[in-house]
Amino acid sequence: MTEFERRLQQWKTPQPATGLSDRIAREAMRQPQGFAWREVAQRSLTEWRYGLVYKAAALAACVVIGVGVSVSLNPPAAHEADLDELAFIVGI
């Protein structure tokens, strides 16, 4: 064993607490099996940093879609036609 390895081994770890194994197993088994997406969904809602890249991308996509929809629903030419139609209806 080298001096370096001997020095490192001076730092020992404590044994797991008594009963930790049973406690861990018991706590773990309270979770349902096979539903990883639930955990992901919960974390993404409770931790703002979790999945930040995906959240930012989703937000950017919403902005683009929103702008696109807004522009397509309110084209400049349609505004004049609306005014003409309104005038006809009113009887001017």
Partner: protein, 184 residues
């Protein structure tokens, strides 16, 4: 670190909801997983939380484990390392409690001076490891303390063997400097 027939069998049973099989798995692998988590997170409380999170994932995702793709221990330590990294990034590191020291030193030696010397030596190593960046600390915990091969550590850390070796070289250099150990 080879997979045993026992681990694969226990995981198959765990995936079917067998509580006794899962408890046996936890009991078998907890000591080492706890040691890894403790070396990375530097205190018992965080280590316990990390291994709890890791084994909860093992239970919840047992159906996703494929024994033909990797040994159970490799799969487990991938989860353990992620749980440790996740815990370290989300929470401030806590100081080590006096109970941790007491248990770590307890080896039946009544000599107070020897105990003090051991405590100081252990503290120096802990402080040196604590100064390492998280990824280096993880590689050191797996390879230098728990005897993982570079290949095994690379699989668990989801990086190349070269990347692990690079981490270890840098960590070793810093640890030797801080601990005042001369080159071998």
């Amino acid at each position: 670190m080879r997979d045993t027939v026992g681990d694969a069998q226990l995981m198959r049973l765990t995936a079917e909801g067998d509580a006794a099989a899962f408890r046996q798995l936890v009991a078998r692998h907890l000591p080492r997983a706890h040691a890894v988590a403790y070396r990375v997170l530097l205190n018992r409380e965080d280590a316990e939380d990390a291994v709890q999170a890791a084994f909860t994932k093992v239970w919840a995702h047992a159906g996703r484990y494929e024994p033909e793709r990797s040994a159970f221990s490799t799969w487990l330590y991938t989860i353990v390392t992620r749980a440790c990294l996740d815990r370290a990034r989300r929470f401030r590191p806590k100081t080590q409690s006096i109970d941790d020291w007491a248990e770590a030193l307890s080896d039946g030696d009544p000599d107070a001076e020897t105990q003090l010397s051991q405590q100081q030596a252990a503290g120096a190593v802990r402080a040196a490891v604590a100064q390492l960046p998280l990824n280096q600390r993880m590689a050191v915990a797996l390879c230098y303390f728990e005897g993982f091969s570079n290949a095994e550590a690379a699989q668990s850390l989801n990086m190349s063997v070269k990347a692990v070796e690079s981490l270890l070289v840098r960590a070793r250099r810093q640890l030797k400097t801080v601990l005042g150990v001369k080159d071998d």
